[in-house]
């Protein structure tokens, strides 16, 4: 057994152990902490599967931003936990649930073990068309050039989620701002971090977005880092979330999908069809779209974490 195999088996055992703890932990807060650790371990598994872009996304969005959301929710729901103790399922229910789950697991494991070999793959086609886009990273090419409609719809899903979260506000708070107001005396430790980190974080976020054209990276990962910088200044209460009625916030939220859609429609006039890019001009156009996508993501993620408006709108 080689060293890499031992690493794989150890990693797999660790991931399973932390997942089991997430499901069976007594308190919700402990389960959430387990989930964040699980997400980070999963990023290492993704690197072992040679999917570095996915590893970056999982660490940033899957484990990082989701973790912030879950920790905030778990902290606020702590008192409500005790009330649900009487709803625990009975022994026969647990037995049948575990029987069903073991069945599902065995079925999926059977599928995994019986995958065709050599596997069907779209890699040769992607390699062929990659030169036409001028990009070096095939995953960015798939996201923005080959399956651009999917990615645009995904950005629309993000906007829909923000609309859904905002619509949960009580009527009288509509137009107000989510989150806590700016503090007169922010807590020193978090304020120190929130003043030191954002310059570097913004630089790193833009770098990862820019480099995603040729190396692992891209709009989602870079946008998540920029979002984290805004979130940490909001958490340190050095700035406050803008009111949901502000125009620039709404423009920034829809800028990504709007520019994406406009470019796709313009492709009908200036290139060969819907979402086609003119030959030779593909890479600048892709980076242009990705820049607005990064802006949108950097604004959407903190708004999703901040939640519905909680303060009265200012006149």
């Amino acid at each position: 057994m080689s060293v890499l195999q031992a690493l794989d088996i150890g990693l797999a055992a660790l991931v399973l152990a932390v997942a089991v703890w997430t499901i069976f932990a007594r308190e919700a807060f402990a389960a959430v902490v387990g989930y964040v650790a699980y997400g980070l371990l999963l990023s290492i598994v993704w690197v072992r599967l040679f999917a570095v872009d996915v590893a970056l996304t999982e660490a940033a969005i899957g484990s990082g931003v989701t973790g912030v959301l879950l920790i905030g929710a778990a902290a606020r729901l702590r008192e409500a936990e005790m009330a649900a103790a009487d709803e625990q399922p009975s022994e026969p229910q647990r037995f049948w649930a575990s029987f069903l789950c073991v069945l599902v697991t065995l079925a999926l494991a059977g599928v995994v073990l019986s995958l065709p070999d050599p596997a069907p793959t779209l890699a040769p086609e992607a390699a062929q068309k990659l030169a036409g886009t001028g990009l070096g990273n095939p995953i960015t090419a798939v996201l923005i050039a080959f399956r651009s409609f999917d990615t645009m719809l995904e950005k629309v899903v993000l906007v829909l989620a923000v609309v859904g979260v905002w619509s949960l506000a009580p009527d009288r708070y509509w137009g107000g701002a989510p989150g806590a107001p700016r503090a007169a005396r922010p807590e020193s430790t978090l304020a120190f971090l929130a003043q030191l980190l954002p310059p570097f974080g913004i630089l790193i976020g833009i770098h990862i977005f820019w480099v995603g054209a040729d190396e692992p990276g891209g709009a989602f990962q870079g946008g998540a880092i920029l979002a984290a910088m805004w979130m940490i200044t909001m958490m340190a209460r050095l700035t406050e979330a803008p009111p949901v009625s502000s125009i620039w916030l709404r423009l920034a939220l829809i800028a990504g999908p709007a520019v994406f859609l406009a470019t796709g429609v313009a492709g009908v006039a200036m290139a060969s069809g819907f979402f086609a890019y003119p030959a030779g001009f593909a890479k600048p156009l892709i980076l242009f779209i990705e820049a607005f996508m990064t802006l949108s993501i950097a604004v959407t993620l903190p708004m999703l974490v901040a939640g519905p408006p909680r303060r009265l709108p200012r006149r």
Partner: protein, 113 residues
């Protein structure tokens, strides 16, 4: 046992584990956690399909990887909406339970509509 096969088996186990957590845990927050576990298990299955499709000089098929990236972002937005719903439920009724209950306690801080 190669790395992709092992990761695929772990993905299958995660789906089963998450399904068990989704069914048996009564609290909505734990259900959201279990749902995320199911999601990441499914993404791992996509990942091994991508790795097995290595060809033409790529170490992994890029199309399933792009789908997983899309899936992670969509799963996050679904989790954000679900958590906002749970918090609003807590604000309205003072408890978090999915059981339709005629004897729900008084709202936590007045009726907020």
């Amino acid at each position: 046992m190669s790395a992709p096969t092992l990761a695929g088996l772990i993905g299958a186990a995660l789906v089963g584990l998450g399904l068990y957590g989704l069914i048996t845990n009564p609290q909505p927050l734990r259900k959201i956690l279990a749902f995320n576990l199911i999601g990441s298990g499914v993404f791992l299955l996509f990942g091994i399909i991508a790795r097995k499709g290595a060809a033409a000089g790529f170490v992994a098929d890029p199309v399933p990887q792009a789908m997983v990236i899309t899936g992670i972002v969509v799963a996050f937005s679904a989790s954000a909406l679900a958590i906002a719903l749970v918090l609003r439920l807590f604000q309205e009724t003072g408890r978090v339970t999915l059981r339709p209950d005629a004897s729900a306690g008084p709202p936590a801080n007045g009726a907020d509509t």
